[in-house]
Amino acid sequence: MTSRIPSVALPAVLEQLQALRKVVQPRALRAMALARARWLFRSVQLRGHNVAAYGPMAVQNDGIIALGDRLTFVGGMMPSSLVCHPGARLTIGDDTQFNYGVSLEAWESVSVGARCMFASFVRLGDRDGQRTAPIVIEDDVWVAHGAIIMPGVRVGARSVVAAGSIVTQDVPPDTLAMGNPARNMSLELVARETGT
């Protein structure tokens, strides 16, 4: 007697399901991130297109926040926070990416350029115990894990702030800032072209 149930190769089906999941999951996550960003940044006056938040965030806007296009806020073990106090201005340029636990706080003015990268637990606040002074981060800046940018600091274009650095003075363009307090050295001294 032969079985009436057609034999289906189970592993093959599972494989197809896995493949389907691989294709669908990132898109679903992306859609959710875009929707979440719409909700989280509902109080933001100027919000660009395709701003995505992949995790929870704390947003407190009593001033003016302007977000560029295609921003990414990565989710993780700590929510990032954006705080803009009354009368303050917080600006973020296009294509900038933030890892989790980043804290941006504006009492007067915090301005971030385009195509910047902020690693986890970076802190930017334009007020400390002493004073309030605007922070400017120019384009293509990379700020590594746990760095703290102090009030009144301007970080030049294409510069890198090393992990854990406390930046207390201006960083010129194409410079590596490292240490506490951060010292600036030419990026040419420490960074080579990839592959050479």
Partner: protein, 84 residues
Amino acid sequence: MSIRDRIRTFIVDTFFVDEFGDDDSFLRKGLIDSTGMMELVAFLEQEFGMKLEDKELVPENLDSLSRVTAFVERKQQQRLSQAG
């Protein structure tokens, strides 16, 4: 010990590299990374009692043993001429 030897000894002891010539680029040869460069700067300041300005931290001054030696000598000359 000469300035060159003192700097070379520091580099050998700190970064565990020995096979390099006086004109080899620290960067291109992969001898010293960015954190190491900060250590080298701190060493120069301590060992030779000088203060390095941020704008002096460029490859022309620091990217090979001969350049570092020349840079330190130049700085010491400057200080002597200022003192005298």
